[in-house]
């Protein structure tokens, strides 16, 4: 099937050739940044990069579409057989795109790798994605504040819709109400704004952009991903999308419609007594877990 310009299309939705599709993605990102004021021209940008397709796409686009100073922040959780396969790609592209790279590890920052934390919790692997998330968010917030003014993440439309569903399943109203192009509690100086320029682009569109640019990365997936609720929600949403095309975009549009009516139940933010990071309790979740493991 052809693109409107007559060249072969590389993707079904939108049905566009390589050049037109790349322009389409870049236009979406520019509009998202402008319309939702994700960052301004003088902001120093820190891009959180795992080495996967979405975060590398976010890094490439942020660096090449805007004139801001861009830094790359990568977290090494210490997941054997996974992180060591993606890190070389982060290093390769940072060098190629002339982006300063800052790698922080769970091991050096918290004294334990994620694999070790799993073992000390008695081999119960189901909480690992949430456990990882607690430490990752802590480290990303702490380090990106030192490096810049705003943290760009590679979250795409699929990620957002999955998170909406996960918050519904877990009856987590506060987290649901805080979702959006700019995530988290915006008005506290302890939090760096976390922004999502790819939020209107599907996982499939993001992957198509990545490979159409000739980029490559490790095909290895995180070994813990299959244990997560997100993985199960993703599977179900993809089944719905296949049967009822437009499902994911409709869910996100529904959420964005009701979001202004949601009241955020943000609790009072104080600083953790141990690490100084913002928290709703005197000891933050990361320090609490570190104590227990």
């Amino acid at each position: 099937m052809k693109c409107k310009c007559g060249k072969p299309a590389i993707i079904d939705n939108p049905r566009l050739c390589k050049e037109d599709f790349q322009k389409w993605v870049e236009k979406q990102v520019r509009s998202n940044v402008k319309n939702h004021k994700l960052f301004s021209k003088n902001d120093k940008i820190v891009c959180a990069v795992s080495g996967g397709k979405d975060s590398l796409t976010a890094l490439y686009i942020t660096k090449h579409l805007f004139k801001n100073e861009v830094h790359c922040l990568t977290i090494d959780e210490g997941i054997k057989g996974y992180r060591d396969t993606t890190l070389p790609f982060v290093k390769k592209y940072c060098k190629e795109w002339d982006v300063p790279l800052h790698v922080y590890s769970f091991k050096s920052e918290f004294g334990k790798t994620l694999d070790r934390m799993k073992n000390s919790r008695g081999g119960d692997i189901s909480p690992n994605c949430s456990l990882c998330g607690v430490f990752r968010r802590n480290l990303m917030n702490r380090k990106s504040k030192e490096l810049g003014d705003v943290l760009v993440t590679g979250h795409n439309l699929d990620d957002e819709v999955q998170t909406i569903f996960m918050n519904l399943i877990q009856n987590d109203y506060d987290r649901l109400a805080r979702m959006g192009f700019i995530a988290g509690i915006k008005k506290h100086k302890g939090f760096i704004p976390r922004v999502k320029p790819l939020r209107t682009i599907t996982e499939k569109q993001s992957a198509t952009y990545f490979f159409s640019k000739g980029f490559e990365t490790s095909p290895v997936e995180c070994p813990y991903v299959y244990t997560s609720l997100r993985h199960k929600v993703r599977e179900q949403l993809n089944l719905f999308e296949f049967k009822y095309p437009g499902t994911k975009r409709n869910i996100l549009a529904w959420f964005d419609n009701i979001k202004p009516k949601l009241e955020t139940g943000d609790s009072e933010i104080i600083l953790c007594k141990l690490c100084g990071e913002p928290s709703s309790k005197s000891i933050c979740e990361a320090c609490e877990i570190l104590g227990s493991t």
Binding site: I79, E203, K204, S206, S218, P219, N238, E241, F242
Partner: protein, 66 residues
């Protein structure tokens, strides 16, 4: 007809199929088209693309690492 199929990052394998396009082929392989993109003879293509004998098909999952 015989074609070569490989998952991203794996070696290719020969396969005999009656599928005439990628949608049918993915269905035959029990793959939800929402979860992958496909390179046909090294080019990204739409799923209505026809499959011919000797074609090389690479199936790339769209899920990022973790």
């Amino acid at each position: 007809m015989q074609i070569s199929v490989r998952n991203h990052g794996s070696k290719s394998r020969k396969m005999t199929t009656e599928s005439l396009d990628l949608v049918s082929l993915l269905s035959e392989l029990s793959i939800n088209p929402e979860t992958v993109i496909v390179r046909l003879n090294s080019e990204l293509v739409t799923f209505d693309s026809k499959v011919k004998p000797g074609d090389e098909i690479e199936i790339i999952p769209v899920v990022s690492g973790g």
